[in-house]
Amino acid sequence: MRRLTSGGEIDRNRPLRFSFDGRPLQGFAGDTLASALLANGLRLVGRSFKYHRPRGIYAAGLEEPNALVTVGRGEARCPNIQATAIPLSEGLEAWSQNRWPSLGLDLQALTGLAAPLTSAGFYYKTFMGPGQGTGAWMVYERFIRKAAGLGRPPKGSDLRSAESLHQHCQLLVVGGGLAGLTTALEVAETGISVILAERDSILGGAALSTPHDSPERTRRHALLAALRDLPTVEILTGTQVFGAYDHGCYAAVEEGSRPRLRLIRAERLCVATGALERGFVFPGNDRPGVMLAGAVRTYLHRYGLLCGARALVFQNNDSGLDLAADLAEAGAAVTLVDPRPDLTAEQQARLDKAGVDSRLGAKVTAAIGGRRLRAVQLEGPQGPDRLQCDLLCLAGGWSPVLHLASQAGVPPHWSEAHAAFLPGPLPPDISVIGAAAGDFRAMPDSKGKPETTWANPPLPLWRSGEGRTAFVDLQNDVTAKDVRQAHDEGFVSVEHLKRYTTLGMGTDQGRTSNVIGLALMAEARGRSIPATGTTRFRPPYAPVSLGALAGAETGSLFHFSRRSPLDGLLREEGAVMTHSGPWLRAWYFRENGSDLESATCREMEIVRQDAAISDVSTLGKFEIEGPDAVTLLNRLYCNGWTKLAVGKARWGVMLRDDGYVFDDGTTWRLGETRYLMTTTTAKAEQVLSRIEFLLATAWQDLRVQICDVTDHWAAIALSGPKSRAVLARLIGAQQAKELPFLGLLETALAGVPLRLVRVSFSGELGFEIYCPAHGATTVWRALREAGAGAYGLEALGALRIEKGHVSVGEIDGRTTLDDLGLAAMASRRKAFIGQVMAARPGLNAKGRKQLVGLVAETPLSSGGVLSFGPVKGTGAGRITAATWSPELGCYLALALLRDGRAQHGREVAVHDPARGRLCKALVRDPHFLDPEGVRQRG
């Protein structure tokens, strides 16, 4: 193995330092980690998944099954990357995987000696079989996970700064080989917008694996020059298109230190992804030094690297000929082995000229060596033979890369002539060209006609030798015997074969092994390959890091929080914020370092004894207007709206179609045909969508419009026995005094228009003050200066528990009006949504859980399970909301309890298994405080 003094796409004037397992090494700009490792003479780069066999670099691209490494160290490390897919960079640190204590001496390789015991289905049979139960698996799993498997993932967050982009084009060409470049040029020249994406860091595909003076190279140069100045084409290198999704959506990723995800919408797709080479199955075919022929040619011409001094090329088609000649011309001693009896005269002349020895009608039956290849065993017309060599190049035929086309719904069709799957019938917006379409000519054109005549047809040959170490899937250590065993045990379908043996799993997804495995299964079944079947490919084509998928939207950008117009001011006043649905809300106000509990108690006391304000701008607010507005409300709410006067508000409850409670809120009549509906913070969006749905479908006859004004209006709740006095300082004593319960008032404060309604959520005398968003801070400050304290979401929730008002905890989609004690709300004089289904027997049966209050001397918490005896199943009920009541000096909870209204006065056991608590509570009416409503009526 040596680096040539000239040639290739590497820059010998730009050496790069890197390390492998801590050993300092050097490569050149333009190298991949794989080519740099080879150039440093490293044959052995990894240990196999199951048997810890020594493995070397096998391929030059994404089909590489062996050379999986971890890049980077510590939390920045990324495991299981193919060395062939990593462009070399200065300072790169790479580590081999799955070895202990070191790559050279791996004690776990002893498992290889026990290989006959650990064949296909080993885990299932040994640990999960009858008599074992899952207990055995749980015991052994951690040892097995340690011994088998790949690299270790980092546990911290991905520290790279990732980004994502949305793109559009008329044609997306995937693959920057000659076929893709030709098509991109032809189409872009007609004025159509084209994106061409190539996984590799440079364009040219297979042309890069040809000598520097080849016609392919000349054509590549011409295409690149023509594309360079074309404004209609965007060329993306280092970009892997990994997924095809419905309706022309494609996902592509650039990994590396700055991952970039591109979501591309294209009118048409052109698949020019080329073909991948296969090897042969024979014992020892995994020895370091056994490589794919095309890869050896790539290392020779692209990286200026001669991979062996004594090379043997084993082919069953013509694609190894160029390599044999090129290797010989580069100075290697080369033997060509071909099971076909003859070559054409032209082919023979080429080999003779280059000085290649050829063995026709022969095949390789075994590779011999340990940590490196030493010789091969041949079987030919003259009988068995043994040849010394340090490089064995396998040319077992080509598999078109159909993954993307398959994801897009194109079925693969087996072609006997190509010994490969070719794309089946194509939809009008997808084309497949070049080697991906079976056009294996060196110089494909955009028409993509598959080759049908061959000078010397390929010979279907999958397995050339028998033995225990004849591998089909190198990455998963699946042997020909495993495939045979899967068959013998009845796992004959392709999907079962994959799951039983793990053939085709892992980071390479069986790119070099799927077709061979399928051929061996077909052989075992005595059926043809197409009759045996193939799997449909799913995204992603290649591994994508989670960090790249997450993009830039992490941390605070992961979810866009809605903020009240008071957000900044509340924080200035010491508010600690919390998430509430899509909103950030003031949770409690920190005063003198107070914590949640002490702050909440203080805020509750102010509301009960004085006056305080809370930001309720998050309530859903919808203006509704039209001649049929009242009809709409009558249908939506279970209670009636016909008699609501202009200038008054009413509390309403909506049901769902299925009869359960949907939402509640006050709605105001602003004018003759104009209303303002308010909803809970949680259901605002759903209520709006639902109303729009009904108006667009069942209720098209209603002349009514709805407008979302949630963000236009800020809202402040003012509560407490002294709230009228506070309000009087803002709008005058007369107006404050005259506003009746549920009455509306439109006025102004310092130029800010105000809408007031007298309502109460806390049970105290209360008002809600609405103003346009940009005036909210003015109004809040005025209220504070007028003597109001401030309270947050925690106190708001606790106050309503004391009052026994239902909220999201109780309106959870499982409760009816009657469950919540609201049956009297429902009108009998009109039809409304949910009316019929609410009358279902099941929703009115005895034994339903009904809203009750609980009083206890020890803490209660929501989720607590209620029972009158030992807990059976889910118990007799559950706590939906709980708090400490400073007013009453005890712990309170709202709960849903079986036949709860009949249990008032009883003692119930409250189980809180999560906190390991068990206590007793008294069941009673949920209106703990002022059940007659004297306070709120002021």
């Binding site: 949305h166 866009f560 419009q705």
Partner: protein
């Protein structure tokens, strides 16, 4: 909230300013084809747009037909749109003042399109949204209206409650683009 906030200032490359809407009025008509809509168009002096892409303008404002039966009028100067609309529409539809429900984000510069492409799925390139057109779409969780004034100049209507999150997103995206 009368002041404009300069979110990003990178000269010719990128500028983003967040400011309140002077006048923003949403009008809903009882029907998709409404005589009231035509009356309003005559009164204010615009041509009623036929679709949800073209922006119509009148002296001192723009008109977006945000749905077949809904118009959004954005007044760019001191022309009190609300009373004018209420007078013309009368009982022929619903007129709602939503001036405080949205903030305007002015975005311009050669990096405007690449920046928007980081969050908006619309086609802003070849055969995509043209100058003089608008689109309603989403930026993550926020519903936005994107009006392309010139090739590299946009104005966005952002829900007031999402303005802080959207501003953070713009600043982060600009930062990722190394601005």
């Amino acid at each position: 909230m009368d002041d404009a906030i300069l979110l990003i200032d990178k000269g010719e490359d990128l500028q983003a300013v967040l400011r309140p809407c002077r006048h923003l009025v949403q009008i809903g008509f009882w029907d998709n084809r409404s005589a009231s809509a035509e009356r309003l168009a005559d009164a204010l002096g615009f041509t009623l747009p036929e679709d949800g892409q073209q922006v119509a303008d009148f002296p001192g404002g723009w008109v977006y037909r945000i749905a077949p039966s809904r118009l959004l009028l954005l007044g760019s100067e001191d022309r009190p749109l609300l009373p004018e609309c209420q007078t013309v529409i009368g009982q022929g539809g619903m007129v709602s003042d939503i001036s405080h429900a949205k903030l305007l984000l002015d975005l311009k510069g050669s990096a405007a399109v690449p920046l928007l492409c980081r969050g908006i799925t619309l086609n802003l390139g070849f055969a995509g949204l043209r100058p003089g057109c608008f689109a309603q779409t989403r930026l993550h969780d926020a519903s936005i209206l994107l009006h392309r004034l010139e090739e590299a100049q946009f104005q966005l209507l952002i829900p007031t409650s999402y303005a802080a999150a959207v501003s953070d997103w713009f600043k982060d995206a600009a930062h990722l683009m190394r601005y």
